[in-house]
């Protein structure tokens, strides 16, 4: 029916890039490393494009989705459980793939310029390609186990890239923290998978979906538990409460890594997974409520922390956590296509903001503190322009990309019964805060006067400028596809939005007045945020310090991120270390293992000491033992033991009788 799409090429090409650069990298000339590193994601992107052109009808032979490719070799065949390596291309994975490979390729290009002086150049690109491999496996996965492979793999790549400059202790620690916190979430994912196998006998998404569609009355109960377990996994990977703590620390990695992994693609894997398994969530209102609440709470929580952060990358990190909260909010009100829409636009403008921040950092020699920046508008005009676009997009101002997607989510939340209006209000408040802190960043970085000597700040090379410009263009027009078309495109794979009435409510921009009103309110709120930022950081720059002095406790609470890390350290980490030290070090390591080794050695030495006395060198004792041995052999052979032993009782009785 379809021409062969060769989906397996999409992960394989980056994997080949990883192998080549990883194994041969250090010996190759720089241009060759760059070529291999850039060719892999580009080729991947081309394969995806080829598939998408067919889907959108630009090619004569149009493909019908979903398109499944299965490896003929069965992976697991154990009883009822049959798992194969299958890749599925449907609308959802197509959109994700376009984002992942497209933005991924742009960031690869940017990295060429950013990491050009680094001695780990080949290693960096091999890790980046490895990440792309695992991410595409995750997106294309047709069953939960293959997705889990990708899931773990992106965690690994994230660890390797966060701790890229591993000689720095803070970077190595951040890598470990990310991996460990992710593992906690993965535990939830694993439990969810086990429950799926127990209840459905299969891990393939299409089969699970079919089974659930056939039983619309099956709600709640074990499905809630499965959904909550999967949500735990998503919370770990996508940095939601309470497992978000690794993301700010992950800013220790190179800025392109932050852009790719911790803004555009890896952290969105959680949202993708929820959208992929949406049938489970649809059948469990409790789980949906949890997802929405967690999303909203995380959004506002992270936004409040971002208000007072002074590191440019930390602001963007908390902003990412906050926007991910928006996406989960969207999933929680079953507006999955809205969430994916926001995922896509967020990828564009957040990657843009990170790369622009990287350009700023690169130009002023590694400085990341906002308080030391300022007045860079004249020296970095291109960066200034693209950052402006990104900030307008994230604030949700019409007609930039963020407006459409954020508005779709807020509208869906508003309509949700019974508590949708509360969620909507929280989302609105977060939008206000988002606009405020993003414009704060904009003012402190580019406008005003330089607060510290910046030397020869220069604009970045074209290898870095190109991706910036492309992403800026996407941030402008990425939302123009409109929620209506986007939603109906994705509907076959993520379902139409379900209301309690069970009817399909189309998203459109004009006919329904509520939507218009809500959009206008959102834009006004964003502009209000801008105005407040303008007042505090341009017209009256002494006001922030005054406010901080007036509310010292509040300021300290926010600046120290609500002391969450310290709390976890005291409640989780310290007891764990104490138990480990006692149990594993003392009981197991020293006691059991050391004791066993000591015992073995002791037994050997002891028997050796005993036996040593036998080897006395004394001829006569040797002779005596020889004679004894000979006597024993003779006795054994010549005495009829059977009759002797049989007659013993008789002798005994006979003697007793006397």
């Amino acid at each position: 029916m379809n021409p062969d799409l060769h989906l397996w090429l999409i992960p394989l090409l980056p994997f080949a890039g990883f192998l080549l650069n990883g194994i041969l990298g250090p010996g190759l000339p720089k241009w060759l490393i760059t070529t291999i590193a850039l060719l892999a994601p580009l080729a991947s992107f081309c394969v995806v494009l080829n598939a998408s052109l067919g889907v959108f009808g630009f090619l004569p032979a149009s493909n019908s989705l979903p398109y499944v490719e299965t490896c003929p070799l069965l992976w697991i065949n154990a009883g009822i459980l049959r798992i194969d390596f299958s890749f599925v291309l449907d609308q959802l994975s197509l959109v994700m793939l376009l984002v992942v490979t497209g933005v991924g390729f742009l960031i690869h290009v940017y990295s060429v310029g950013y990491m050009s002086d680094d001695e780990g150049y080949a290693r960096y690109f091999s890790y980046l390609n490895l990440f792309l491999f695992f991410m595409t496996v995750l997106v294309l996965a047709g069953n939960a186990l293959v997705m889990f492979v990708g899931w773990e793999g992106v965690g690994l790549a994230s660890y390797l890239l966060i701790g890229f400059w591993f000689q720095k202790k803070s970077a190595a620690d951040a890598g470990k923290k990310a991996f460990i916190v992710n593992r906690i979430g993965d535990f939830g994912f694993l439990i969810g998978m086990f429950l799926l196998v127990a209840n459905f006998g299969t891990l393939t998404f299409s089969e699970i979906g079919a089974r659930l569609d056939a039983n619309p009355a099956w709600q709640g109960g074990v499905l809630t538990i499965i959904a909550l377990c999967l949500m735990l996994g998503a919370a770990g990977k996508s940095a939601q409460l309470p497992l978000y703590i690794w993301l700010p620390d992950a800013m220790e990695g190179p800025t392109p890594v932050s852009a790719l992994i911790h803004a555009a693609t890896m952290v969105t894997a959680g949202v993708y997974m929820v959208a992929r398994t949406h049938v489970l969530f649809d059948h469990s209102p409790v789980a949906l409520g949890v997802v929405a609440t967690v999303g909203a709470a995380t959004a506002i929580f992270a936004a409040t922390i971002a208000l007072v952060q002074n590191d440019i990358k930390r602001v963007l990190a908390y902003s990412t956590i906050s926007q991910l909260g928006y996406m989960f909010l969207g999933c929680g009100v079953t507006a999955y296509s809205a969430a994916i829409f926001h995922l896509m636009t967020h990828a564009f403008f957040k990657a843009l903001l990170f790369l622009a921040a990287g350009s700023v950092i690169h130009s002023i020699g590694g400085e990341q503190d906002l308080r030391k920046m300022g007045g860079l508008r004249k020296k970095l005009p291109v960066t200034f322009a693209v950052t402006t676009v990104g900030v307008l997009a994230i604030a949700g101002i019409f007609p930039f990309a963020g407006f459409f997607s954020k508005d779709a989510i807020l509208y869906a939340a508003f309509l949700q019964q019974p508590n949708g209006k509360i969620l909507w209000f929280v989302g609105l408040l977060t939008a206000l805060l988002t606009a405020f802190y993003m414009f704060r960043l904009w003012y402190m970085t580019f406008l005003g006067e330089a607060r510290s000597p910046q030397g020869h700040a220069h604009e970045c090379p074209w290898s870095m400028r190109g991706p910036l410009l492309i992403l800026a263009a996407l941030s402008v027009c990425g939302g123009w596809v409109g929620m209506l078309r986007f939603g109906s495109f994705l509907a076959p794979s993520v379902g139409a939005r379900i209301t309690e009435a069970g009817s399909y409510i189309p998203f459109s921009l004009f006919p329904v007045p509520w939507e218009v009103i809500l959009s206008i309110v959102a834009v006004l709120v964003a502009l209000e945020g801008w105005l407040i930022a303008d007042k505090y950081y341009r017209r009256k720059p002494e006001r922030p310090a005054q406010l901080a002095a007036a509310l010292p406790a509040g300021y300290k609470l926010l600046a120290n991120k609500y002391y969450v890390d310290e709390f976890y350290g005291a409640v989780v980490v310290k007891p764990l270390l104490a138990v480990s030290k006692f149990f594993l070090e003392w009981v197991v390591d020293i006691g059991i293992l050391g004791g066993a080794a000591w015992l073995l050695g002791g037994v050997a030495t002891f028997t050796g000491a005993i036996l040593q006395r036998w080897q006395s060198g004394n001829l006569r004792s040797y002779a005596a033992w020889l004679a004894a041995g000979a006597a024993a052999v003779l006795l054994f052979l010549l005495v009829p033991w059977a009759t002797v032993l049989a007659s013993l009782p008789a002798i005994h009785l006979g003697m007793a009788g006397h």
């Binding site: 006569r620 004792s621 002779a623 005596a624 004679a627 004894a628 006597a631 003779l634 010549l638």
Partner: protein, 177 residues
């Protein structure tokens, strides 16, 4: 006649053996052993082994014991000293020997079908012996001669003075010259 001869020479054997154990000077033990061997030679003759009787006197008493005597005199071995005994030897060895003797004696005494020895029993002639030795058992015979050759070489190599004394390391007792 046979009985008397047997009793006399068996008694000499035992006496010689016990004397070997009781004497403290090795030369006395050597001479006792010679007595044992010559008595045994007579016993062989009583059992009809004429060649072996002769060989016993020539080889054992005449060559091996002479060698022993030479060595005793060469090394100037004196009376045995009272050194520490070996407790193990006494506590384990003696019971072992007793056990061996007891078992073998029991087996011998309970054996059926053992015959008797009379003076009138024929003597195995040397001709019979050699007929078997040089035809059927020729290979062992030749191998034995090689064995003796090796023994000679070994004895010569072990016992001669090494020139320059380079390989007598370790012991500070020096060489017995």
């Amino acid at each position: 006649m046979h009985l008397i001869l047997f009793l006399v020479f068996a008694g000499l054997c035992l006496a010689g053996a016990i004397n070997l154990l009781l004497q403290s000077h090795p030369i006395d033990s050597a001479l006792s052993l010679i007595v044992v061997m010559t008595s045994l030679s007579v016993l062989y003759l009583l059992l009809g082994a004429e060649f072996l009787a002769a060989a016993q006197v020539i080889v054992y008493a005449g060559a091996i014991m002479v060698l022993f005597t030479f060595v005793v005199m060469l090394l100037n071995a004196g009376r045995e000293e009272r050194t520490l005994g070996s407790r193990v030897a006494r506590s384990i060895g003696f019971p072992a020997v007793t056990a061996i003797l007891a078992v073998i004696a029991t087996v011998i005494l309970h054996a059926q079908g053992l015959g008797v020895a009379r003076l009138s029993d024929g003597i195995t002639s040397t001709e019979e012996l050699s007929a078997v030795l040089f035809t059927k058992l020729l290979l062992p015979f030749e191998v034995t001669s090689v064995l003796i050759l090796i023994a000679i070489l070994g004895a010569v190599a072990l016992a001669r003075h090494s020139e320059g004394n380079e390989d007598s390391q370790g012991s500070a007792e020096g060489t017995g010259k």
